[in-house]
Every structure is written in C-alpha cells, then in structure tokens.
Symmetry: C2
Subunit: 201 residues, 2 copies
C-alpha cells in the first residue's frame, strides 16, 4: 500500500520501544514531508552513534569516544567521597537535572534478576566495591528503581557494601508522596512509605 522506501522506514521506526505501526507511519510521513535536512541529520546522528560513544571504565557512565573518564567523575568540583548508584546511564541525566547532587555516579548496568539470569557478577558491583578504597568513599546512595528487582538489588548492595567496608554510610532515595499529588490519590504502598519515613519538623 505504501512505497517500499516508506514501508522500510516505517518498519525501522517500528522497532523503537513502544512505537506501534500507526505512530511509525506518522513519524515516517513527517520525515518524508518535512525538509530533507531533518531526515539527513537523524541519519548522520545514527551513523555516528556507536563509534562516538563508549563506557567510562570507572563509573560506567556513557562518555564520548575521545574521553578517558566521565567528566562527572574527573570534575574537581564533584565530591568523590559520595557515590550515587543507578541502574542505567540515563538515570544520571534525571539526577543531574535536579542540580541537587554534587557527588559522583556509579552505573550498575542493570539489576539482579534471577528470571533473566542477571547475577551479581553481571553488574558493576566489584568495581563499586573497589571505589570504596580508591576514592575514600564515605557514603553510597542507592538509587535503583522501586521495582522488585531494584529493591532486591538495593538489599544485596547494602549487604555487600557493609561487608566490604563497615564504616561506609549506605542510604537509599526517600519514598513518599510526590510533589503535586493529593493525599487521596496516593497509592497505599507510597502512603505507607511516606508514613514510615516521616520527617520531624
């Protein structure tokens, strides 16, 4: 029904996560109708993607191919004694946007998941434990997601950190009612967390 060239693009776009055929058609038609420059810049960005990016060997954040370590690690203004542990590199972007954290990051590269066969050795846990000494770490903030896997990874990490260095402070991001959500709309589990984690005024 569609020209082969458009059909190919619809297929290729349809591989993106959460993009159905209707959305893929809409994107493809937009790219066809709009200035050729837009399609070209997207195509060029795709070509440069894999050669232009690598992983920081210390923090496992994504860095440019020309860099040796993550700028968020080498920056002298960042406090190396505080390490925030996240699942994936994009989580760093979310935290950085708050402008409220001035320590360094450590990307696990996933979460423990017996079903998917992800074991502790598949995550960058060994490298995190090594950083405790290397960077004289005082606090590790665990910022894995609130999923079952994220929670069990947090518990595993806490134990591993305690064992490796009993003095290091281990913390977890607070759970509670998000800003802008009314009490009556908060779910039970969130509310339980908010109650248990209440702060004294």
């Amino acid at each position: 029904m569609l020209p082969q060239a458009l059909e190919n693009l619809v297929d290729a776009i349809g591989r993106l996560p959460g993009v159905g055929s209707r959305t893929a058609e809409r994107y493809a038609y937009f790219l066809f109708k709009s200035d050729q420059k837009i399609a070209r810049s997207l195509s060029e960005a795709l070509d440069d993607l894999h050669d232009g990016i690598k992983t920081c060997p210390k923090t496992f954040a994504l860095i440019s191919a020309g860099e040796t370590l993550s700028p968020l690690y080498t920056d002298r203004a960042r406090d190396k004694s505080v390490v925030l542990v996240v699942e994936e590199p994009l989580d760093i972007v979310a935290i950085e946007k708050t402008h409220s954290f001035h320590g360094t990051y450590h990307v696990l590269g996933g979460v423990l998941s017996p079903i998917d066969g992800v074991e502790p050795k598949d995550l960058h846990i060994k490298e995190l434990l090594k950083r405790l000494d290397d960077d004289d770490v005082q606090e590790v903030i665990i910022a894995t997601n609130a999923s079952v896997e994220g929670e069990s990874t947090a518990i595993f990490l806490q134990k591993a950190l305690r064992k490796a260095s009993p003095a290091v402070k281990v913390s977890r991001l607070a759970r509670g009612i998000p800003i802008g959500v009314d009490l009556e709309y908060a779910d039970q589990i969130t509310l339980t967390h908010a109650l248990n984690g209440r702060t004294e005024l």
Copy 2:
C-alpha cells in the same frame, strides 16, 4: 551530561511530532544499547526516503520512484468510476486496511484553511474534476476529517463537483457511534449525527 553523539541523536529524534526529550532519550539509548544493525537499517531507510518516493500524478498517492502511476489506480480490479477523496496519503492506508473499498483514491494534499492560507488552488481539486470525465466517474466519496476545515472542504468539494458534473453522485463517510463505544460515553455531536443518520432496519 550525555556524550555528544548521543545528544545529537536525542536532538534529531526530538524533532519528530509529539516526541518530548524523555522519549527521545529513551529511543536514542535503545538504539545505542541494541544491535548496531537496528540503527544502521534505520539510517539506510532514511537515506533512501526522499529519492525512493514520489507522488502519483493522477491520484497524488505516494508511489515508488520507479512507478509512473499508483498501483491502486492502475490495478484492473479497482473500479475507476468510484473515487474516494482523502486529505493525506496515509489516509489511504487506513481505508485499504478495511478491505471494504474497491474504487480508486484521490489525495487532496490538505484541507482548505483561510488561517493557514490554503486556498482551493493549493489542493488537487482541479485534477479531481478532470478525472470526472477522464475516468467516467459515477460516485465521489468525500472522506475528509471531521474537523472544521475538513467539513468546509467537503462542502466546497460537493459544490464544485455538482457544478462540474450534475449527474455524479457525491457522498460522505457516515458519522455515528463507533464500534465498542457505549451510548452513555458517546459525545453529543456524534450522537446527534447518529440520530440524524439512523438507518432503517
């Protein structure tokens, strides 16, 4: 915060309609994490897009660069005496998926819109009127959208068709309650249309 190569891809993806920065980041990271083949096939499809597609000079549907006329027009099984008029080429895909229409198509290339400066001469109306004679058209089905512009374009078309060939039957897609929607959830305008357009059993 992100490597330049990833940032460039996020920017390029962010130009797609309805894609915000979070979604663009998610797509870009997916393309980076998954097999390089996926990014490459998308990049190749983009490169072929503009050279591989042109517009059918008769129906204004999208066709491959190697074709002279739309296969949906030249196909002998299609009834040239019935023409379904749509706003955009992708509307053809939606109709074809029903397998309920066996006539030919005509793409207007938009709708009349005084605000956006779209006048009758900017749409493929002249070419539609020419087809009335050329293809011995008996019926024109107007399938513009139910927007204000779509409706006024339909009225304009109806008058132009009547004037050009008083014998031609002009029809419009039925408006009514969609399948799967309960009466109580149907909006007022749809319900009015459903009532006025009721069919005798």
